[in-house]
């Protein structure tokens, strides 16, 4: 509200109040608790670096949020949605917090995590066959305890009430929760929704992904960027390697 008003007033009362406006501007910018609809940069650097400078540039707060709920939409698993989070996982582990994987769609493969530099000592997998209720209960509890730095869950469709509850739990426990989805739901209350799509050209081995910020608190229109997502080590070795 305050920002909108300030925008209206500033052209009219230029001469008299330039100094005062600048002062207010400074005050507003210094306040991290305030988000300003008009100014993405105004949020400062409250986020945690994603490890991709292109992504940092479009995210509010210049990085992943410290806490809250985030939705990542991928048309199918394997579009690079986990690679996007690997730098974040490394920093969570470095902080001594746990990463909780709640009923992942496939087997989480430890050697790949080790290759990516994620210590598996602090990784916990909750392996549930069917029960969606238990998965949500687990997610809420995990978000509430401050010991988990990152909670990952794969849930395709969740009602807004549940999402809001998870969001509250996440901000109470100061934890980041990530929901992976196949489809985007338009009216989801999660503060950040991303869509990731692979867009690497057929011919090139190095793959590229297009990340679209469908919604983020702090910006108005969808932004998108392209990220290079290389495999952990590019493979080009001739001849057969004997095992």
């Amino acid at each position: 509200m305050a920002t909108a008003r300030q925008r209206h007033f500033s052209p009219h009362s230029q001469a008299a109040a330039t100094g005062a406006v600048q002062h207010i501007e400074q005050l507003l910018q210094g306040n991290t608790a305030l988000w300003r609809g008009c100014d993405l940069a105004g949020q400062g650097n409250s986020g945690q670096a994603t490890g991709f400078s292109e992504l940092d540039a479009i995210l509010p707060g210049r990085g992943w949020p410290r806490n809250g709920l985030m939705e990542i939409v991928a048309p199918h698993w394997g579009s690079g949605e986990l690679q996007l989070l690997l730098p974040l996982m490394r920093s969570v582990i470095a902080r001594g917090q746990w990463i909780l994987w709640i009923s992942p769609p496939y087997l989480l493969y430890a050697p790949a995590l080790v290759q990516a530099g994620v210590d598996t000592e602090q990784v916990l997998v909750v392996d549930l066959e069917t029960s969606c209720r238990d998965a949500l209960w687990t997610m809420e509890k995990a978000l509430q305890t401050g010991n988990c730095g990152l909670v990952l869950a794969w849930q395709d469709w969740l009602p807004g009430k549940v999402l809001r509850r998870l969001q509250l739990a996440a901000s109470a426990g100061d934890t980041l929760g990530v929901l992976f989805k196949h489809k985007d739901s338009k009216h989801s209350p999660s503060p950040i929704r991303l869509q990731i799509k692979d867009c690497s050209p057929e011919s090139r081995p190095c793959s590229e992904a297009e990340v679209t910020l469908i919604k983020a608190r702090g910006n108005f229109r969808p932004l998108s960027t392209r990220l290079p997502l290389p495999l952990s080590s590019p493979v080009k070795r001739s001849g057969a390697a004997r095992a």
Partner: protein, 476 residues
């Protein structure tokens, strides 16, 4: 307390103003006279020793355990039982009248003891003896005499006939005693004690003195295992489990008081919810770490209640402790900034998860040094031992974050591979040939491939006869 006999000395007030005040001198009473005056026959305690020579075959720990179990039987006749090597000694003077003599008491014990020995898969026989000193009875039992000595004065002669082996000295000491011509304890009585002490050390002399009642005999006594049971009758049948929580809270409060007084904690509890005309619902609470925190236990119970369905209204509630554990406290740093991020929160969270989801749902993963991709990643239950979990070197070739539980057969149409959409190879091959020794011969060429939709896959081609293609992982 000192007796106020005729010999007691009274303090007289000094009277300086009156001349010629006489000071009365009282003769100090002799010890014998005092004893005569308060002559009550001193009753020695009577010690009943049970010696189990067959325990020799077991190791130290097993012996301890066996003695503990046997003590549970002996506790029916005596309240103070002490442990000795391969023997138990019980005080029976206090219960002699009740059972009607030593013989009756022995009959009472014999059957149950033989049963417990058989349960322990040991020969069902034992030596027993009773004497007025702990070690005296022990030596008699070791000698296999099955004797009873009620009088302190008779000890010396009763023990005298025992061979020196009952002292259970080491081989060197036995040899020396033999060379000195000492065959029986009788021969030891004749030797001067200070000479014995110089030759054999004070231990032997102390043992002899204890046996003769000349030295105090401190013992390590049997303490019965703690048990906790409480129940609560509800005034009416309760269907809503949440209404039980205040009652459960009170019961857990009692439990925690009990535990705190004995410096114990528990890691397994049993709640029995009794119904009318129905079988009781069992609710077992298992804790990952022993606790005596009322609030923690209640929270766990609440979690259990959350997924419990009861067949009928609950009429009463019973609480039993299945397993006690020693309480281990944590000392915290005085300075707040030194305190590490508390893990108790995490433990609490893990407990809750386990309570709700069951122990098998929580997994930790770690990589194993294996060439075969299926075996290179292992899931194990959270909290299981961390043996062999040192950091393993992993291959430097690309590995997918998702692995399919079973390799999935890909279709080959013309020269193109199809999964959901067409697949094109990106890099490879990486040849893996392993496990020929275990019968499942794995010979595969792994490739990184790309689906038309953009998903990157990890696929392999068999190198055996059929040369089929399989999807094995997804690079997420």
């Amino acid at each position: 307390m000192k007796e106020k006999g005729p010999g007691a000395q009274l303090p007289l007030p000094a009277l300086p103003d009156r001349e010629g005040a006489r000071v009365i001198h009282l003769k100090p009473a002799s010890r014998a006279a005092t004893e005569q005056a308060t002559s009550r026959p001193r009753r020695d305690s009577l010690w009943y020793a049970l010696y189990f020579p067959q325990l020799q075959a077991l190791n130290e720990e097993q012996q301890q355990a066996a003695l503990r179990q046997l003590a549970e039987t002996v506790v029916t006749v005596s309240s103070s039982i002490s442990y000795h090597p391969r023997a138990l000694v019980a005080e029976v003077r206090s219960s002699l009248n009740y059972f009607g003599g030593l013989a009756a008491l022995h009959r009472q014990l014999q059957g149950p003891l033989q049963e417990s020995l058989q349960e322990l898969e040991l020969a069902p026989h034992f030596h027993y003896a009773a004497a007025v000193t702990v070690h005296g009875s022990l030596l008699l039992a070791r000698g296999g005499l099955n004797a009873a000595v009620y009088q302190r004065d008779n000890l010396r002669s009763a023990l005298g006939h025992l061979p020196c082996e009952v002292l259970q000295l080491n081989a060197e000491q036995n040899r020396r005693l033999y060379n000195m011509g000492v065959r029986r304890l009788l021969d030891l009585w004749r030797l001067p004690m200070d000479g014995l002490r110089r030759r054999f050390g004070s231990e032997l002399v102390t043992l002899l003195n204890k046996a003769l009642g000349k030295a105090p005999e401190p013992t390590r006594n049997y303490l019965p295992a703690p048990a906790f049971k409480t129940s609560y009758e509800l005034p009416y049948g309760v269907e809503n489990l949440d209404r039980l929580l205040p009652v459960a809270d009170e019961m857990l409060g009692q439990l925690c008081d009990f535990l705190r007084r004995r410096d114990l904690a528990t890691d397994r509890l049993l709640f029995m919810l009794q119904h009318e005309n129905r079988e009781a619902t069992r609710l077992e609470l298992g804790l990952r770490q022993a606790s005596r925190n009322n609030a923690h236990l209640l929270q766990l119970l609440q979690t259990h209640f959350g997924k419990l369905t009861i067949p009928a209204p609950v009429s009463s509630l019973k609480l039993t402790v299945l397993q006690f554990d020693a309480f281990s406290g944590k000392s915290e740093s005085l300075l707040t900034q030194d305190r590490p991020r508390s893990d108790s929160n995490l433990d609490l969270f893990m407990e809750q998860l386990r309570a709700r989801l069951g122990g098998q749902a929580l997994k930790t993963i770690h990589s194993v040094a294996e060439h075969c991709p299926e075996y290179a990643c292992r899931l194990s239950d959270y909290g299981s031992d961390k043996q062999g979990r040192q950091k393993q070197a992993v291959s430097d070739r690309p590995r997918p974050l998702w692995l399919l539980p079973q390799p999935q057969l890909l279709t080959l149409r013309g020269s193109r591979l199809y999964h959901r959409q067409a697949i094109s190879l990106v890099s490879g091959p990486e040849r893996i040939e392993t496990r020929w020794w275990s019968g499942e011969d794995i010979r595969r060429d792994y490739y990184v491939a790309r689906e038309a939709s953009g998903a990157r896959l990890w696929i392999f081609r068999e190198r055996s006869a059929q040369r089929r293609w399989f999807l094995h992982g997804i690079f997420a």
